[in-house]
Amino acid sequence: MPSSSDTPPPLLRFPAEVRAAYQGFCCTRDEAALRVVIFAAVLDFMPKSSAHSRVDALRPEQRLIEDLGFDSLAVAETVFFFEDLFQVTIKNEEILALRTVGELGDFVARRLREKAPVA
């Protein structure tokens, strides 16, 4: 398990398996590990879920707004989480094109492929 000193601040409150997946992605660039982090973040920012509970696993085809109850603020929060975690900047027009969980995951993975390896 990663120690808290290896965990960037945005991930501190996430379960150990999510933090381990992040560390795994940083070491190996394994996009399956990255998707664990992305899905965990989507669950975490879902505005209609209870503040103290988790919901069932996501599916890539689920639409953020229509199926999962996201509003534009929650989408912006989720995107900011990735910006903060991976130190990237994502433009408004890029956000507006993302409709499903899968599209969000693909977008983040693609952006990180374009970026220098995470420190």
Binding site: R13, D44, K48, S50, L73, E77, F80, E83
Partner: protein, 429 residues
Amino acid sequence: MSATPSSSRRPVVTGLGFITPIGNDRASVLASLREGRHGLAPVEFLGNPHLPVKLAGTVRDFDVSSTSSRDWTWPSRYAIPRETLRGLAPHGVFALCAIEQALAEAGLAPEAVAHDPGTGLFCASAGSARLLHHHLGQLDAARGERGNPMGVLSSISGTLNFNLGAHFHITGAVCGFVSACASSSHALGYACDEIRLGRLRRVIVVGAEEHNAETILPFAAMRALSAQSDPALASCPFDVARDGFVGAGGAVAVILEAADLAQARGAPVLAEFAGWGQSADGHSVAMSHPEGAGLRLAMQRALADAEVTPAQIDYVNAHATSTPVGDRAEALALRAVFTEGGARPRVSSTKGLTGHPLSMAGVMEAAFCTLALAEGFVPGNAHLRTADPVCEGLDLPRESVAVAPGWVLNNSSGFGGSNVCHVLRRWAG
């Protein structure tokens, strides 16, 4: 106002909610006021034990110290959905819980106020300096290229209005008040007016503040805070040895509604909100007028509005925060309004128990006055040992007095010389 406003224009208090240093519900607050139990606790701000700020009026059973709302904890009886939590400031959590309590006491389910055009929400806080500092720090570190999308909504002054108005689905009116330590007193005063004018039938009034370093410590730079580490010495309004106030946080909510509406619902009426008055010193950005001229005028206006004489007032909840200048000005104003005319109400500042919660002070003390009227007692002056000679002629009981007041006056003053006074009356039906 007419001498006998119709019951549809007569504001009454039907619910109170407390998240305060002296208790997180009505029963514990009442016991603290009666028994003189203070809520001041040791603090060490910014990890620096050498700071001359040793105490604060802190809230128990909540942990909202993190800059991430995901880390916060609160008593499990309050349900805060993720959709609401994401935009709240730390003191927004206190405020939401206080409102839930007040609605419950008033016999109002959340559905009864949701989408009701007769219900408004008036709020008072200085915003969250802690979250504002944090979010601007993030923005600065990224050279402006990215920032938290909830940064504005969760931190600026007005954060209570935005978040709680949406959470409780308030449609009558949502407004915020910013006059420093008179803020929530202004909120209550204008709530009274809205009901008297027939524009609203019910107003939820809430004041809230944080007790963290970012909110309290800047007052040390003004030399306004007590440096004492002993609670008995640190917040002692009207005492000759007072050396500054003790910062505090929490939230208090009051439900004000038209008397006929309350009676038609069968709601318990706790007190009548009989009138209010305000004035301004026109004197200094921070210091009170040396003779309390503005506060004197505000008291006189409140008494005139309620159509009550100084001699009829049984109890005054003073603003006195334990600062040398402010308490002196208020003592002189009280002497001018009451003593010089032969009136001698009991006077106390409950900030000896709570510390000074800034924007929240006025609504908190109006709620204490409501408890005094409803429960039949007068709070005492905790920690008062030797009254300042400037208080000569004022009746300053050390301990609470088991005498039921009929009329009470609640004083507030804020930076820039804003003065607001309320008159409340025991409900006789």
